[in-house]
């Protein structure tokens, strides 16, 4: 560790504190946007199969994963990042394959055991994230018992809160295939928790989150298409399902786009506070999903007192867990352990130590060098942005009006809150790291 501290300059305490606060902010913003991604999908009430819904959302995800990096930094920088750490492309593909399979498993878990049991089960991914963070990336080492208590206790509190909220928000628990559903939910937790290994590996190597999410698309569409083909029973039947679902494509694609914004914040959280803290914080998406459901879609309206008590109690417990984690940020000693893990990755893959060091500090790898030159947006970036906009305009044109009644005023207020979170968190990210 002393060697690592020597190889990678020790981060100034004030800078470390700022980056930790930024990571916490990103984790909470991730929760808000990941939760909001559920809203457009609630507008869809047609006989579209769960796997096809996933595939359609991936279209929005695909567009977002290219257009947002193009807008924020320009694709030239994504190419430079790929050149600096090409091995991470494979790690990204692996991560996104895990993501696609986990997302599909959750659909089956909800079908078989209901949201009330499935949600807390797959939220156990944060406990697995803490384990992998500790074992593989030196997180929480020399952190002291208070921080251990804060992170582990906070994660457990969130687990308990999630259980209460899920019980309250469940409509009914379908029966019949309980074992299948339980296994699916636990497998999803295993895959989601493990998916953060590539994330952390990338960010300890100095990778920019905007570049890393762009790498995802390589495997995402392929994996999801494969699963959808398998589920539909062939290309022709899948095509028929897609054509039939064209009227809801806009809402699902919008859900995918919103989800990517949340995922991006989650990536920044994983980068600056590690996976042991970042995952639990982004799991607050359940709170936001419930809030959207209650405020905009009138869910739980006319609920009994015990039900409302469950919602309030679960929310308070979950918020308390998130607060405990937010106040358990890494201290300089623990951060030196992160640096040791970063140095190990750098040596293993021959990544430029300056690049790694700059990534950990949240700055560009070179000042006035190739990265700076690459900050210019090229024609390709603008073409991608225009293309994305045109696709969404087209999907909107063929979209059907939502068949579910919702409170439009509340939806506007919630959207305004989301935009405010995006602007505030995005501005702080830009000022502190220039999106690095």
């Amino acid at each position: 560790m002393a060697q690592a501290a020597a190889a990678i300059p020790r981060l100034q305490v004030s800078r470390l504190r700022k980056l930790q606060a930024l990571g916490v902010m990103c984790g909470l913003a991730a929760g808000a946007w990941l939760g909001a991604a559920e809203a457009p999908t609630k507008l869809v009430r047609v006989g579209v199969s769960p796997v096809v819904i996933s595939l359609l959302m991936v279209i929005g995800v695909f567009l977002a994963r290219w257009s947002i990096p193009a807008l924020a930094r320009g694709m030239t920088q994504v190419r430079l990042d790929a050149h600096k750490a090409p091995h991470l492309i494979l790690w990204a593909i692996l991560a996104v394959c895990l993501l696609a399979v986990a997302n599909t498993l959750t659909i089956f878990a909800i079908r078989d055991i209901g949201l009330s049991i499935a949600f807390p089960l797959w939220n156990a991914n944060s406990l697995l994230g803490i384990l992998w963070g500790f074992v593989f990336f030196h997180e929480l080492r020399l952190a002291g018992w208070r921080r251990w208590l804060g992170v582990l206790g906070g994660a457990l509190l969130m687990f308990l809160g999630a259980m209460l909220l899920a019980l309250a928000s469940s409509r009914q628990a379908p029966g019949g295939r309980a074992l299948h559903g339980m296994v699916a939910a636990l497998a999803a937790a295993f895959l989601w928790g493990t998916m953060y290994i590539p994330y952390r590996k990338a960010y300890l190597t100095g990778m920019n989150p905007l570049s890393f999410v762009a790498f995802f698309t390589i495997g995402e569409l392929g994996m999801m298409s494969m699963l959808a083909l398998r589920s539909a029973g062939g290309a022709l039947s899948l095509w028929h399902e897609l054509v039939e679902a064209r009227a809801v494509l806009f809402w699902l694609a919008a859900g995918g786009f919103i989800w990517v914004i949340g995922d991006l914040f989650q990536q920044y959280a994983a980068k600056y506070i590690g996976i042991s803290r970042g995952i639990p914080l982004s799991n607050t998406n359940q709170l936001w999903g419930l809030l959207w459901g209650m405020v905009v879609f009138g869910e739980l309206r006319g609920g009994t007192a015990p039900l409302l008590a469950q919602v309030i109690g679960g929310s308070v417990i979950m918020a308390a867990g998130a607060t405990a984690i937010a106040f358990s940020s890494a201290q300089p000693k623990e951060h030196e352990n992160w640096q040791a893990a970063a140095l190990r990755e750098s040596k293993r893959y021959g990544t430029d130590i300056d690049y790694v060091s700059a990534g950990l500090e949240g700055r560009s790898a070179t000042q006035g060098g190739e990265m700076e030159y690459a900050k210019r947006h090229t024609a390709l970036d603008w073409i991608m942005l225009v293309f994305t906009a045109l696709v969404f305009v087209f999907l909107f044109a063929i979209a059907r009006t939502p068949m579910v009644s919702f409170n439009a005023y509340a939806a506007v207020v919630m959207l305004a809150v989301m935009v405010a979170i995006l602007v505030v968190c995005g501005t702080v990210l830009w000022r502190m790291t220039r999106f690095n």
């Binding site: 750490a85 692996l94 498993l105 593989f136 497998a187 295993f190 590539p198 293993r348 021959g350 030159y373």
Partner: protein, 100 residues
């Protein structure tokens, strides 16, 4: 950059006297600079104590770049973390097949 392409062997203080690293100055320096300027500019970079500059041919430069970026494939399969996500993916696919 058309002027001074090449690599510099620089000793980074934290690694000790014996350690030398190839430093690419391909794009981080002005296009036109004298060799002495080049040496000074590299020396000004953080943590560089001693700079041994030698003009290198374009081939050498290419080789230096490749050596740092193209060995990753062989390293990847020896990465001890590699097996965890792969096993998770296999488990996920098996479970998916089973519940369908």
């Amino acid at each position: 950059m058309t002027g001074h392409r090449g690599v510099a062997a620089a000793s980074f203080e934290p690694f000790g006297k014996e350690s030398c690293f190839l430093v690419s100055f391909h794009a981080s320096l002005p296009v036109r600079c004298e060799r002495s300027t080049l040496k000074d500019r590299i020396a000004q970079r953080p943590r560089v104590r001693r700079v041994l500059v030698s003009r290198a041919s374009e081939n050498q430069m290419l080789h230096a770049n490749q050596s740092s970026s193209q060995n990753w494939w062989s390293v990847l399969v020896r990465d001890p973390h590699w097996w965890v996500p792969v096993i998770a993916l296999i488990v996920g696919l098996v479970v998916l097949e089973w519940i369908q």
